[in-house]
Symmetry: C3
Subunit: 355 residues, 3 copies
């Protein structure tokens, strides 16, 4: 044993980020998250290599231009992941559970060359009765190089206390909309589906063809690989140990980033929802059960609502997107109201379709 290793033992972790604990948050606090990111065609190519993403607006400059946009943006969920990933070291490094999402809105498309950073405001705190953990609500904003907010969403997580004896903060539980009102959805400037090419988009079904209550089995399945989910998760600079380190959990499994399942399910939903082009609102979402390498992910959707918009030829559709690891099952919850074990994700979002 040499001198160097003796030194190491004295102060091995002095400068590393141990993450925030429950008592480190206060309502009104604004956290500027680290590591801004410039995105390019590289991020887009990787997104399309990691997910079977095929929505034409995010695949072709020409198609996007025919819909009134300057060029093809980075996929809506890729923008979400970039914004989300930056929050992990500050919000969820010591999280016990990711409890929910609400009031998510995509406010401006993100294009190759844009640089994104993230900020979160703490909008709620509630210590749990066990005194060991608490719930933290944050409203996160993704901001580009022109200081334009490109997206925002509320997320709440259960976080451990560093010191169980630390006093509980005043409880503040934010009032959150169950659904983003249609009038609050932001439709990208210039978006126009008047000349929409259904053949190039891949399906003939327009907004008018969907009925509330209708469900769609997206049929295809993808078996998940370790290399793929880790590459995706790293690309978004999400640093949570549990996704990368097979020695972290007692069972030796790497837990797959919930966002990987969201993107996989959304991409699979192309088959039946090819024209639900752009996600503009995130009403809520639950990661119902963990996903691991080897699981075969499938998806189905339910039309929850429909609404008109004031843009040419653009309709809004509210969709439930469910990811499962069982084929042919469209049951969501058991008689006890809990998600069935094969359900991975239950997401509620607004998308824009040609009318």
């Amino acid at each position: 044993m040499n001198v160097q290793s003796e030194i190491t033992k004295e102060r091995p972790m002095s400068k590393t980020n141990a993450g925030r604990f429950f008592e480190d948050y206060s309502v009104g606090q604004v956290i500027r998250h680290a590591v801004p990111r410039t995105v390019s065609g590289g991020e887009r190519a990787l997104y399309h290599a990691l997910y079977p993403a095929r929505h034409a607006l995010y695949s072709s400059d020409f198609f996007a231009q025919s819909c009134g946009l300057p060029s093809s943006p980075i996929d809506d969920l890729a923008a979400f992941h970039v914004v989300f990933g930056k929050t992990v070291p500050d919000v969820s490094l010591n999280a016990v559970a990711n409890l929910g999402y609400a009031e998510g809105r995509w406010l401006a498309p993100v294009y190759p060359g844009d640089t994104l950073r993230s900020e979160s405001e703490v909008i709620g705190l509630k210590q749990n009765s066990n005194g060991k953990t608490g719930v933290v609500w944050v409203r996160t904003r993704g901001i580009n190089q022109n200081d334009t907010v490109v997206m925002e969403y509320v997320r709440w997580v259960m976080v451990r206390k560093r010191d169980v004896d630390a006093p509980a903060p005043e409880t503040v539980v934010p009032e959150l909309s169950k659904v983003v009102p249609v009038e609050d959805l932001v439709i990208p400037k210039g978006l126009d589906f008047t000349d929409y090419d259904f053949e190039l988009a891949g399906e003939p079904h327009r907004w008018g063809d969907y009925t509330v209550g209708e469900t769609i089995d997206h049929v295809d399945g993808v078996t998940i690989e370790e290399a793929e989910h880790m590459m995706a998760t790293r690309l978004w600079q999400n640093t949570a140990k549990v996704h990368f380190d097979a020695t972290f959990r007692p069972d030796g499994q790497r837990l797959i980033y919930g966002g990987h399942v969201i993107s996989m399910a959304r991409a699979l939903s192309f088959n039946g929802l090819a024209n639900a082009q752009m996600i503009v609102g995130l009403n809520g979402g639950a990661h119902a059960n963990p996903c691991f390498s080897g699981d075969t992910v499938r998806a189905w959707s339910e039309v929850l609502d429909k609404a008109e918009t004031d843009m040419s030829g653009v309709g809004a559709v509210r969709l439930r997107l469910v990811a499962t690891k069982a084929a042919g099952s469209f049951e969501l919850k058991g008689e006890d109201g809990k998600y069935l074990p094969h359900v991975l994700l239950d997401l509620d979002y607004w998308a824009l379709m040609p009318t």
Copy 2:
């Protein structure tokens, strides 16, 4: 069991693409395939991460410029995959077998920033004697944002009938060239190998150094991983279930996209054919046996023919490219005329070399 799941059971697949069956095709029919794609440096970087691709013309803008091109194009086979991938949902979703290729020509290089779409014309139909399947011949064209056809090829597949009792169509079997005539090969405008830098390209062997009948063992091997072939196949927006879903086949294996083997073998052929820079013609090809994760792919080539061209310093060489999963074996077929079990691919193409 809740109300929602009851609804699902009534109409779970109403809007998804079940693919075309044999009786859905008619000679003369033109299918515009969905999901145009803009390619960028991201696709190129991924191609070079997924395959040991090293041909200098597709690696360096500077090298490409020294050969008379404006910049380095996307790899010839990457362009092929983009065009091919779009045809899968319309042509081969219900295919039983991929029978062959012919009359393939690369007509214009594809550059980062280009947007490709695909169209196929049905040029032949022949119902099989069993009445359950038929052969469909299509001529597919890849078209860029300026409506320039960048490549075309004929492919034929065996497709299932939806209804065994549907009447057989009139048999039309197209006459196809066994080999693309040299005079029909399209050499990219401006291509000039006069100042070709053999040292930077990686090998000293020029067109004149190859003799018809010569074979080259490309020596190197690559062991195939699930994550890699899936990423490649997704990048080309190829949606065939069998490549992604481990539950699809009774043996639990994911069948590897034949194009993955083509690209792997072509990239391996750099070692011995570093100067066979650009593929310009596809004379034929057979996916002799399926490839699975864990197989170690090797390649060898045979010089089938040579021809001069009217461009400065540019010669054409016709090559057989064979991919195998056994080291050191250069046998192709058994005494029964069938491919030996270790042979994965037998491809016949034209490439351009410096004379």
Copy 3:
């Protein structure tokens, strides 16, 4: 067995590169390595998908501009890998061991759009006493499209002789600096950390906060996957068989490219060294033990030295970066002076930090 295979047996390897052997090198010889490469945002995105790389200067154009650079360069180690990869077919195809690095300097940042090529000069030769192998020292330079040298380093490898009876060359052992002197480090033109944003960079620790002798445990671990290390290694056009072909070694394992471990460890070092933004000097390095798929790589650093520079707000820090495959162990060598079996890498480099 057909005629073709008979031909193959006669001359299967006539045109492939068998690599150079010890007697093929002579002091003063300059080797221009093959396959120049144009890098783009695709290489950057892949680098960030394959490694948990988060240094802000290499992630955000905006951040890089606030530090006086025109835009965000390609990661320093990505530039190294591009330059290094090209040398493999000429320098290490028949190498028995990669013995060391010295006198490495990054001389100019590499930006998307740049084209790199590599040249190596043989600066030393020493036949081993067994007569079967010898040590070759090369100084390698990476050069961009403007003939600017962007980096250089010395590397020495043990190479097999083709013919054991070939005469030994005159022994020339170059004198190499143990450490690149601070005054020889090249700080990118315009680099200015005066307005450095520590919050966006991810940590508050500045140059003045680090003390010589201090060690930092970077805490996080990443379990290595075959698909990832192969994609990385291919991206740098490194062709060494042992990384790709599971049939190459008797144990059926693919040896992981040492550079993959370097990049993984450097990326992990963000946690504690987020402000050690740019690597500018490589003093030395040892790949202490081989790394295989399934290993969980961790890292710790030791501050070896500190120095001021004449650029605004820019300090230099000399760091030892150690990669291990065991958690919580900061021992490096045993009592016999040999690296302990869990140590993968021991690297010695200079980085630039805000003062």
